[in-house]
Symmetry: C2
Subunit: 235 residues, 2 copies
């Protein structure tokens, strides 16, 4: 029926894609390593939060800042495609915050975060922080390939999204330190198996730390705050 | 503090990225136009479903097939990064289904869908269909740039994700025909403003048709099924 649909990407384009992708990732890695040194010179440990849109990254940060925003020097870098909405929400908590907009790209990259770090420093008297949160663009795929210079990478999946998500988005779990199941206060309304989600995530990455949080209801927040305090103390 | 972090993408890499991206999109558009002819030769109209992971695309399809899977000749192309899970769910409904796995890519493209169309035809005696659903990879960003040859493009946002999503992911809404709010049976549990979501979506694209659906509870399903019947009748 369809002898004429033989449109394919040419070998030439294909090899150019590989070449460009490799240069991009190499440049990103070089900057990410410098970002890590930069963050350490600021006295801080940095956490990269990755999830689908609406999994509760900003809500987690709001409730975290309510609990420890006055005891620790916390800075937040917000990544979005457009709008200042997330930064506006965090700004109300009274901590330094920088909004980075990617203008279309589905992930933050290290050069952009480098600019964010400088902007964050300008909001602090001595440029020193204990903890820097980097909230990535809402996307469960693209951010996985781009090291931003963070020390810890947390993948969030919310209960309404379904417990099949680790198996369906494996790459994202390979490079993470922690898998956080969010909105656990909604478990009774959804067909979500905590067991399935945990097992699949650990099959992909046996070293993952696993947390379960329902931030607005306070579920699992004590464990989360202890983890942050230990992380800061260890650096 | 950070005079040495001057790592940037070189102008040479930058211009290669633009060049490669343009060739890719041109090749995709050429194939998408052929796919559209191909789908019409199959007698069908095709719908491209785009959303974040876990917004309810597969669940919507399951309930749609329960209602009209026996009255219409429906084929389903499932797009995922890995796993056959979604195709397995749809296969139980007794309709032809093809699983496409992208092996890492965050969206389907027209050359891959072309292969899917041929595989779908082989599951039908005469290669004819009324309706072809293409369920894209769960992602609210990447699929927006890739025409697959569909006739209608539907963007789904579920109530648990939040009503700020149209404003935060504008590109995705520009190219759509329909904006569907899903999981509306959960409205009383979430701080989701249907009004805000609708207004923001219409501000981005005034021609959008808007639907509200809670598929498992049957909410809005009559309107959805009528829309599909009219779509098929008009082609």
């Amino acid at each position: 029926m369809c002898d004429t649909c033989g449109c394919h990407i040419s070998d030439d384009t294909s090899s150019k894609i590989v070449e460009v992708h490799q240069s991009l990732l190499a440049a990103n890695q070089e900057q990410a390593d410098k970002n890590r040194e930069h963050i350490e010179a600021m006295g801080a440990v940095a956490i990269n939060l990755i999830s689908s849109p609406g999994s509760g990254k900003t809500t987690l940060l709001e409730h975290t800042l309510d609990r420890i925003g006055r005891n620790m020097r916390i800075g937040v870098i917000e990544g979005d495609i457009e709008t200042e909405r997330d930064a506006d929400r965090i700004r109300k908590k009274g901590v330094p915050v920088v909004q980075l907009t990617t203008g279309g790209a589905c992930h933050l990259d290290a050069p952009l975060v480098h600019k964010g770090l400088h902007a964050l420093e300008h909001q602090s008297e001595d440029g020193k922080f204990d903890l820097v949160f980097i909230e990535n663009v809402g996307n469960l795929v693209c951010p996985a390939t781009f090291d931003l210079g963070e020390h810890e990478r947390i993948i969030l999946v919310s209960v309404p999204e379904g417990s099949d998500k680790p198996a369906k988005y494996p790459t994202t779990f390979h490079g993470a330190n922690t898998f956080m199941i969010t909105k656990t206060d909604l478990l009774s309304y959804f067909d979500f198996s905590v067991e399935e989600a945990k097992n699949e995530a650990l099959r992909l990455n046996p070293d993952l730390r696993i947390m379960e949080v329902g931030a607005p209801a306070g579920l699992g927040m004590d464990q989360w705050i202890s983890y942050l305090e230990e992380l800061v103390a260890a650096h």
